[in-house]
Amino acid sequence: MDLRLAELVEELTTSGEPRLEPGKMKELKKICKSSNEHISHAYHLLLTRLREEHAEMRFSAFQIVRELFSRSHQFRTLLISNFQDFLELTVGIDHEQPLPPPKEVAQKLRKETIKSVQEWHEKYGEAYKKLSLGYHFLKKNKKVDFEDVHARTVAERRREEEKQKRLDNVYKEKAKRAEKEMEEMSQEIADTLTEMENCFRLLLPDPFDFTVHDTELEPNKQMPANEDRPASPWSSQVEVNQSYIECMDDEQPCCSKDILSQCVRTDTELDEKQEKPEQKDLDEDTCSESQSGILALDDDDDYETFVRNHGLLSHKYALDIEISPDIKVRENEDNTAIINNVMDAHRLLRNKFWPSVQSWIQLFTKAGINDDRLRCAIDLKNKMETAMKKYKEMNISFKARKRKVMKALDDDDDDDEEDEDEFVEVPEKEGYEPHIPDHLRKEYGLEPQSPPKALTGTTSTGPPPLSSHTQLKDNEDELDPTCAAATLKLIRDKLPKLPPPHASDSATTEPTGFEEPDSKRRKLEEERAKAPLMPYGLDLHYWGQDQPSAGKILKFASEHRFWAPSEVEEEVENKEISEMLKTRYITFAGKFEPVKHKCRARMPDGRLCERQDRIKCPFHGKIIPRDESGIPINAEDRAREEKMRFEKQAAHPEWRDPEFMREIEAATGVDLGSSKINGKEGKKKGKKKKYPNLTDLKQQANTSRSRLEKKVFNKGAMKRVVKAMNRVDQRKHEKFANQFNYALN
């Protein structure tokens, strides 16, 4: 029974579970109940468990202690006689002996123990003096607050409260500031929003505005269809309507006036054009009917007269209008101003108002303000959100925007009237030449504009061929108004009509051969694209030149009277140097080719090896072509592999199958050495953790640092290093043994 008791205690305390297993606990209690001897035995067992440096073990042991404590007087006396130790081990009252890891379990253990000590004190405190002493000790000396389970000190709590208070104050202050700010800004925001709204309305009339027309049209519908109407008051409306016909269809604005005026038309639009004359003849209601794509269906009785009156051949006209579902506003001269406005407003909203509104809302929620202010802020935010969404939906396609600064310089740019107000017109500089002749460019400190292709929009660069990134850089330069390149571009843009000087030159000089340079140019360009970019070097510097003096070294004859070498060659030619001036080293690294093949050798579990090594798989040797099932295709490879397998099998005869042997061993109880065959497996078994359920405390120490330490501070390694260092010392000693300072050590 004693053995069983020890077993039970061990099992229960090494389970690592937060709760004890009730079955085992019952058994334990039954054993303890049988006699006092068992109780004291259990007490000692549990105390040893409590001394283990593992919080989980201690916690489980404590739980058993709690169970027994409430049941047995004997156990109580035993425990209380050693109550200091118990408290030390479970509450950690001794600061030199803290509770062992893991930390969370230790915390829990502490909490639970304090709770139970209180319970015990209430129940048994009077009878057991030391228990109440311990309780008072915890309460008075260790300042354990039995009410507060977290066992925090008073000071800590007060500090926390104060911090909270201070934070509250700060938030309140901030909220006040935000409120003021909001008051000031909300007007501005509202203005911006209305401005944006108006712009939208101008750009894209709201489809709901047309309901005005529709209501006007409604009574018309009820009128007799054949009634002749003076078209004059309607004509304008019809026109307007026509321009928006597409929009009316699914009540979604799909294009703007600009599209029509721009005369960018799809085929359907062309169709529409063909229909237009007819449509113009139609009454309003037919018109509206045609919008919906169905010809008048409701007036069945008027059908005949209707056809006749309108001179239509058939009633079955179908007008199909295809509409691209997404809106696109395209910028043109008419709406640039509006779009500019919208963009500015949008930018203002996005960059300035949006973040501030968001920060207000955050502040208000943090400060716990839950009144009009917060509602107002949220309102603003919603409005801005809708406006910004609308802006996005508009899908405005901009012309390539130029910086306003450049525009300001641009006197005949027509699309920014408001900019003209802001920027003072600068009179043309005296001696300012909009075009600089090529031969003079150097004087101006500009790069020569040599290749005629520069006209296409990029500034030309010097002799090194253009690569994409230099081009890109140039573009960037052009965008920067402070850069000379930008000005250049502006000038170039401004004078597109002016025939380029080179072109004109060539036109005048070779009017017939205009095509030829063009093809040449293209060829040149292609070549340039292909040519590699090389750093400038000596070889380029002396390209094509013959350097007679290169590599020649002049030696001066000695002017000494007596000491003259018998024969001095005055000039020595060093071929290497002369070569150096003509050669260039280009490292050829080759190109990385990813490995496409796999090892595909058969693995014991039937799968094929997935490793992609170039030449040799570390597990299966040289990579050879294999078929689907991993068998080598070449006959000799197959034979080799077969042979290898044979050899391996010979080393481990089949009858010594480890599992089979283990079974026999289990049955007969004789060691046949099965564990030796598979040494690795055996070792693993031996290393198995003693208590697999407990948290492994050593595992936490398994960091890169510890692993390195294991390697570096390995005994063998240390020895090796020491030996090597000694050897070096020894050598030094041998070398300088005759010298005084080395001789000593």
């Binding site: 007087h73 200091q84 009252i93 129940k123 002493l133 000790f137 008075k140």
Partner: protein
């Protein structure tokens, strides 16, 4: 016991014998008794305790926050359980309270009307018990570790004071001034004790490891310096010459007859000296754990057959037989280091004070009824208190 009483009645025995036997039995059965409690007044550790020798009724305690409390130990309620009441105290709000930790309190040996206290605030105060006011105060240059008044003196009224300075000072209560300075120690004096046999003999223990015996009538120097090696080894090494302990000496206690002196030191040793010859009796007490940096107050029983020494040992109190050095038992009850203990000779009770603010009373256990004369009725009485009952659930499967 009955045999002893009969022999006493018959006049066969020495009258002291019954008394001794009973006292010894009681001391051996000392335990932490739930029936006796001492009121919790102190808010910090207890440094010193003293029971007045006249009646053995009142106990003084000095705390490390300067508070002094006076307890009544006598149980006049006729009930078994009793909490020793604090009659009065010198609290923090008292005008004459010690500023710092009180290190020693001692009753005036012949009367309860006066007591003395010394403290780290460099003063020794003389108190009037009845008015609870400081009657006089002696000021010193260093902190006071310990002081003592001779329990048998009739011709003088001197208080020996051990301070941070190596000089032992004697204060004359009659004149209210310092009468002597005893020079000889090299470091602070942690413990002083007057002999209970000779009124002019004083023993002092110092941090330099030496214990010196003085005759205060002789101004030139000490009587003798105790030597742990009894002069044998000291010839070889002059440094260890005449040292009582290799660490600091922080506890001194005479046996009641004054023939022997017990000393403790931070070398974790306790030594018993023949106070007459100054010889080390070489009683081996084993390791007596002693980490105190201040004076340690331990005590020796009185009126038992082998006398017992009660020595603070970490958080426990070790009970040794004085002359054989046998460790009888360890009294466990405190939760931190015990600073002092004091023995009440009339009822064989022990009081101990510790850093955990508790004063514990160790009372002899009541004699348990002998099984022969226990009637069946008394069996359930054993379990009078429901807390002592087992609470195994009755059903088998529940456990």
């Amino acid at each position: 016991m009955l045999g002893l009483i009969w022999a006493r009645q018959a006049g066969l025995d020495d009258p002291l014998r019954l008394r001794r036997a009973e006292a010894t039995r009681r001391v051996l059965s000392l335990e932490l008794n739930k029936d006796r409690d001492v009121e919790r007044i102190h808010g910090s550790g207890i440094n010193t305790l003293d029971i007045e020798p006249v009646e053995g009724r009142y106990m003084l305690s000095g705390g490390s926050d300067g508070v002094i409390v006076l307890y009544d130990l006598e149980n006049l309620t006729r009930e078994t359980s009793y909490t020793c009441k604090a009659l009065c105290s010198v609290g923090r709000s008292h005008p004459d309270v010690h500023k710092f930790s009180v290190e020693t309190v001692q009753w005036y040996p012949h009367d309860t009307g006066m007591f003395t206290s010394s403290s780290f605030d460099k003063t020794l105060k003389i108190w009037d018990t009845n008015t609870l006011k400081s009657a006089d105060a002696f000021h010193f240059k260093g902190t006071v570790y310990s002081h003592h008044m001779s329990p048998v003196a009739t011709n003088h009224c001197l208080v020996a004071v051990g301070t941070k300075s190596p000089k032992v000072q004697l204060c004359d209560l009659k004149s209210g001034s310092f009468s002597h300075i005893l020079q000889g120690h090299r470091q602070e004096v942690l413990a002083v004790a007057w002999s209970p046999r000779h009124e002019y003999v004083l023993a002092t223990g110092s941090a330099d490891g030496k214990v010196k015996l003085w005759d205060v009538r002789r101004a030139s120097g000490c009587l003798s310096t105790l030597d742990q090696h009894n002069g044998e080894k000291s010839k070889a090494s002059s440094e260890a010459a005449n040292s009582a302990h290799t660490g600091r000496v922080n506890g001194l206690c005479y046996t009641n007859d004054g023939l022997h002196l017990l000393t403790t030191g931070t070398d974790d040793r306790m030594r018993l000296w023949n106070s007459f010859t100054g010889e080390n009796t070489l009683v081996n007490y084993g390791k007596v754990c002693n980490e105190s940096r201040k004076g340690l107050k331990f005590t020796i029983s009185c009126g038992c057959d082998p006398e017992f020494a009660f020595v603070p040992y970490g958080s426990t109190i070790a009970v040794y037989t004085v002359f054989t050095g046998e460790l009888i038992t360890m009294l466990r009850g405190h939760y931190t280091a015990v600073n002092c203990c004091v023995f009440q000779p009339n009822f064989q009770e022990l009081y101990s004070g510790s850093r955990d603010c508790n004063i514990l009373a160790w009372i002899p256990a009541l004699r348990e009824p002998v099984p022969d004369d226990v009637s069946e009725k008394s069996l359930p009485q054993q379990h009078l208190n429901p807390a002592y009952e087992d609470a195994w659930s009755s059903s088998d499967d529940e456990g």
